[in-house]
Symmetry: C2
Subunit: 167 residues, 2 copies
């Protein structure tokens, strides 16, 4: 194959890719920052506000299901719940069916707060998407989904542990 202006094409594409990566980072970090700012108004931290909003929507949850929801390790969530319990926002309650499980439950104080805030994760990001035409949203979804599939493929995606792939 003869020489082509390949590097030029690559250069342009690299700029686009850089911009996309930058944008994703921006959206993610800005959303986090805003959640935090919003939480501060109620004397909470970002993760604490998220926990309150999840418990309020889904009811009592075991510590591990909570961890799964907020995509953090159990050991991290233990700490978050410790501090929230100290503040009287949640209570730990041992499950009766399986006494290994700790159920996290909102106290009255926690529920009152929940009603005041009603926050979605990544809220500004969502709000921004509201201002975008339907067709563009669909396009965004379509391509992001392609990218995600590709990442999962590259990563191996056996859940980093679970089911060893058998085909």
């Amino acid at each position: 194959m003869p020489g082509e202006p390949r590097s030029l094409l690559h250069a342009k594409r690299k700029r686009t890719v850089d911009a996309i990566v930058e944008t994703v980072i921006y959206l993610y970090t800005e959303s986090r920052r805003l959640t935090k700012e919003r939480a501060r108004a109620y004397g909470l931290t970002g993760p604490q506000l998220t926990v309150i909003s999840i418990l309020s929507q889904l009811g009592d949850l075991s510590l591990s299901s909570l961890s799964e929801r907020i995509k953090a390790q159990n050991s991290t969530v233990t700490g978050i719940i410790d501090r929230m319990e100290r503040e009287g926002l949640v209570r730990r309650e041992r499950s009766d069916e399986d006494r290994r499980i700790v159920l996290i439950r909102l106290t009255d104080k926690g529920q009152t707060l929940a009603r005041e805030v009603a926050l979605e994760p990544m809220e500004i990001f969502r709000t921004a998407l509201d201002g975008i035409p339907r067709r563009d949203i669909d396009e965004l979804f379509r391509v992001l989904d392609l990218v995600q599939a590709r990442v999962r493929e590259l990563v191996g995606e056996t859940d980093h542990e679970a089911t060893p792939k058998e085909e």
Copy 2:
């Protein structure tokens, strides 16, 4: 305006938005996880590897420009550099022109490591984008850019402090 099946449209749209948000979170956190995993192989943490790769590409940087690059506060980067200095990966050097400035410089050990790794931030994400057709990449860029603009608009975007808006 007469009644429309508005809630149905909203429901569908909400699902799409949820999926988009989920995907962005996935891409961001998975990229971070991979960087960290990769760093471990060299006895480094994620941020440390990022610092090495940036310094290696751009040469010596002041602490603040480094903070800007990795989008973290100065106080955070101070800590990262402390530990890297302890490990003999970088040196602090007071600038001669402006003695307020601390220049961060890779040691020989740091440079050797840099040559071994050569990592881009959010690397898998980038790699995944490589497998996506040009037209889709352009679409993704176009719409994400719209979203970003909308977020900036919503946030006020006076740099959270800088130039008080005067129009």
